[in-house]
């Protein structure tokens, strides 16, 4: 009789502890909070922490609020390097398309919301922060001949956010370091020494992301993944996925071989087109309804 009860109890506890990593982080955090709130002593806290198996931490453990601050800083770095294209009508047009696309993505709700901004640069470039800030250069907008092509550019960037490529660019050791510091902080009020340490880790995190975003570029597979996400998104909203192919064909002509932009950080447009067409139908010219083309030319005709 007792055995039966024990069996059912152990099955129950096994099931409830199915995720070791979650349990470990919960233990660390709960321990720190318990200690901070004065429920347990320092030595008790220490032994509790030791019993929870140490495992490496994952970037997914950052809360949406922390991702927001990471994204803001990445955005501030991008805007320190590039200046904004301060044209209200242009940015409003880009935002209504971008934000509508984002709502149809698999990650529509994000802490501070999706926001788009045009950068005053001839480079062919775009950046997406983990918090939903998306930047596109005038040079990249010049590769778009219709609204469907512009939607494709924005959908590709939303694809990077949805697939969390930015957060994955943070070095693993840094993720563990940051999350451990944050967990140990618990419910205590932070002292200036801890704030300084955390700021240093924060700075490293931002450097990891911007280094990939601006200099190194993502892996080819990530770029193809973002293209695939873009195709799905365009179809959902009602834009023609061939807009992406048309944009890439113009980009091919506009890219300079020695450029420090997409020429350096992205697979060649021809390779991207080939990859898109492997999984989709053959190219057919994008039919653009007159009012759609008229508003596109009004907003971006002189970009």
């Amino acid at each position: 009789m007792r055995k039966l009860l024990l069996v059912s109890l152990s099955i129950y506890s096994l099931l409830s502890l199915s995720s070791c990593q979650t349990m470990e982080s919960a233990t660390t955090l709960a321990t720190a909070i318990g200690q901070g709130a004065g429920v347990i002593s320092a030595s008790q806290a220490d032994s509790l922490r030791k019993t929870a198996k140490a495992v490496s931490r994952s970037a997914e453990e950052f809360t949406s609020e922390q991702e927001y601050y990471i994204g803001r800083a990445v955005g501030a770095v991008v805007l320190g390097k590039y200046s904004a294209y301060d044209q209200r009508a242009v940015n409003a047009y880009v935002n209504v398309i971008g934000q509508t696309l984002a709502q149809a993505s698999d990650l529509p709700a994000i802490f501070g919301g999706y926001r788009f901004l045009v950068l005053n640069s001839d480079e062919i470039n775009a950046f997406a922060t983990p918090s939903g800030l998306v930047f596109v250069t005038r040079g990249l907008l010049r590769c778009c001949r219709n609204e469907d092509a512009l939607a494709a550019v924005l959908a590709h960037e939303i694809g990077h956010i949805q697939l969390r490529h930015g957060m994955q660019a943070i070095e693993k050791a840094r993720v563990t370091e940051a999350l451990t510091t944050i967990a140990a902080e618990g419910a205590k009020t932070f002292g200036s020494r801890e704030v300084a340490a955390l700021t240093e880790t924060f700075g490293g995190t931002i450097t990891d992301i911007t280094g990939t975003l601006i200099n190194k570029g993502y892996a080819r597979s990530s770029e193809y993944g973002a293209d695939q996400a873009a195709v799905t998104l365009l179809k959902r909203v009602g834009y023609d996925p061939n807009g992406l192919v048309e944009m890439l064909n113009v980009m091919k002509k506009n890219l300079k071989a020695d450029g420090l932009d997409f020429a350096k950080t992205h697979p060649a447009p021809d390779d991207r087109i080939a990859e898109i067409q492997k999984k989709g139908p053959a190219y057919v010219a994008v039919p653009t309804p007159a009012p759609r083309q008229a508003r596109f030319l009004k907003a971006l005709g002189k970009i």
Binding site: M1, Y12, E65, L79, A109, F190, P291
Partner: protein, 165 residues
């Protein structure tokens, strides 16, 4: 003895059922993990927003429809997208009375801790070549569901059925 054994077996199965069914479903209460939640009248992003639950608010889930959850927040019923919610209990004020009770079981996230406004301030002070002014301006670029609807209609952009739902 036989009867006792049977009734215990039944108990075991009942408890297993409870555990498994609990795993299959979304938790009954979840927390809002975005700065300003959007409670909508129907499960669609083009639907009217009837309330804006705050970050950390607990909502009760009363119905599931794909990625959409029908919830109750402060007495108001409406639909929220799953990406706006987390199973974690978001504790808004560190050291507050609810920290002790919530530390016992469920996973917790402390709002305003870790990479926070305070850390951002320090980071700004240490790095001169940053432009946060434009980041702040960007955050004000808001587009309402009504504007989205009108824009799609004007350009004859027709969402696939259910795409924005």
């Amino acid at each position: 003895m036989m009867r006792r054994g049977k009734s215990i077996l039944v108990m075991v199965f009942v408890s297993l059922y409870v555990v498994f069914s609990g795993f299959a479903d979304t938790p009954k209460t979840m927390s809002v993990q975005v700065r300003e939640g959007q409670l909508r009248i129907t499960p669609s992003f083009l639907a009217e927003i009837i309330a804006k639950p705050a970050y950390g608010d607990r909502v009760e889930i009363i119905q599931d429809k794909g990625p959409w959850k029908k919830v109750v927040n402060r007495g108001v019923q409406g639909w929220m997208h799953i990406s706006a919610l987390t199973a974690k209990n978001i504790v808004l004020k560190a050291g507050a009375a609810n920290v002790q009770t919530s530390a016992t079981g469920s996973e917790i996230a402390l709002a305003g801790k870790g990479f926070s406004e305070e850390v951002e301030k320090q980071y700004k002070n240490l790095n001169r070549n940053l432009d946060y002014a434009w980041v702040d301006r960007m955050e004000k670029f808001q587009v309402s569901p009504k504007q989205m609807q009108a824009f799609l209609k004007e350009g004859s952009v027709m969402p696939a059925e259910g795409a924005l739902k």
